[in-house]
Amino acid sequence: MTDWQELQSKSFFEASARQRALGLADAGTFTEFLGPRDRITSPHLPVLNEAVEFDDGIVTGVGKLDDRPLFIISQEGRFIGGAVGEVGGAKMTGLIKLALSAWEKLADQPERLAKKGPAVVISFETGGVRLHEANAGLLAHAEVMDLIQRCRGKVPVLALIGSKVGCFGGMGFIAAATDAVIMSAKGRLGLTGPEVIEQEMGKEEFDSTDKSMISRTTGGKHKYIMRDCNILVEDSISAFRDGVRQALAETPEELAAGRRIGTPELVCERIDLVALAAEMFPKDAKDIWSYYGNAQPDLIPEMTTEEFLRTAKRRP
């Protein structure tokens, strides 16, 4: 499996959706569902004179990670920015439903479930809803969210964010709702994209041409300090794979403790955080980094991931 070996050292940022899916699973174990050969394409794009893609920009399938079935969703930013329409949305919900049904099958074997239970990983590269089929895309987002709640305490769902487009729009809150968020420093996570904020609130609020400010606001390092990212990794497929392994090695209690939202206790914690936001009203992420005890916030953007992980102080 030389190809698989080569994928391991490949940049996650540069990798295609299919390369990420193949490389995250153990060598030779990935089986794609509804792949390009099935040719189920968007029925809506041709109406608007748009070209279709045979996988609708989302790779879905099952592989193994250390004998555990890993249900993988991988979004392709090179096709309409990774945006989600009817087919891509149904591929996401369809795959999560398969993982849930696999869990149901093993429900009477708790020991096997603990060690070899199914897990879902979503490699995000998307701005959310595909505007050409916006209504269907929006409805699909709600279905995915509903399924994430159904997976709670059963099937771990992990978010991987380290691709070019980042993870924005509706998919930004789907990532937040997962059990663990794994990012690289180049990963971008948010709700409203920089251009949209600038358009609605003005350049003073958010300058979408200021790349380093965007990176400080939405990038992996900031999200890691805020604990909106659980595991920060280097930019390679193998590093993300190790991140997945690390998250799946956690006990259900540890996994639950790392979540951002999904319980009344976490909401109360967030309400305190919002009170801090109101009091501080920071001009820049650096203000928050110093608040949490990072003495030299100016140095953080240039740090290597290794150096950052060794020295960064996070939200308690």
Binding site: A142, F173, G190, T192, M201, T263
Partner: protein, 291 residues
Amino acid sequence: MNEIEEMNDTLVGQGRRAIDLIVDPGSFCEDKVPGWQPEPGYGPGAVVGSASVQGRPVVILANDAEAINDRFPVVYFGVIGLEEAYKMARTVYGVIAADKDKPAAEKTPLVLIVDTPGNGPGRVEELFGMNCATGAYQLALAEARQSGHPVVAMVVGRAISGAFLCHGLQAGRILALAPEFGTMIHVMPISSVSRITKIEPERLHELAQSNPVFAAGVNFFSRLGGVDEIVESFDAMPDAIARHIDALRAGEACGPQQRGSLGAERGGRVTRPQVEAKMAEEFAAVADSYL
């Protein structure tokens, strides 16, 4: 109010008036919700409280477009910001906890009155995780619905994109006032679709007649299964909400997955079930080597 007067009337930007039109007269107690007491002025763009609808005790979650949040300037005209989303989420969890030991038939219904143009778009919002805030409220609503609370959304004004996902699309049932009342459900208006696709708006309106998937509007959304029922007058809202609460109490299917089936039935989203079925078939062929 007679029908002719109603025709030109709208509830856009008038969340509090919508509450009055929906609940039994005098029954609304703002901030009186189980489990916590929101401080006065907290998350002012979101209104929560208890009330009754045709004699059924409910908890109301609504938007107030006239409120301005002094702490978060991006919150106005019905925007759901950080405080608003967590205020709503905490209210939902309070209701779940209070009814934890009650049988499904006695769990308090949640009525979402929807008139919101968006989630807080701002620097501080992104720094502190607006995605977490809207996600928190959605997970709370999904948990409430999945644990048996009837959750009914009534769209009285704007239900736009991510804000509709936040406040509406996790409901068990979604009702919307007819478009004559200015009701808006969309991700973006046709003019913006036109800019992106470079197709003239007139041509887009024509295309939308046969394919409702990109078009803005309550009726198109309904054909995709995104709206369960269109309500034809203000006066008909309480009865429609009560009817759907009773249907959900009786255990009728509901929620986002059910709206998927509805979308196929109404002909607006027919590919979705084919995709899911084909995937299940392909997995079944290899399942033994993975499980």
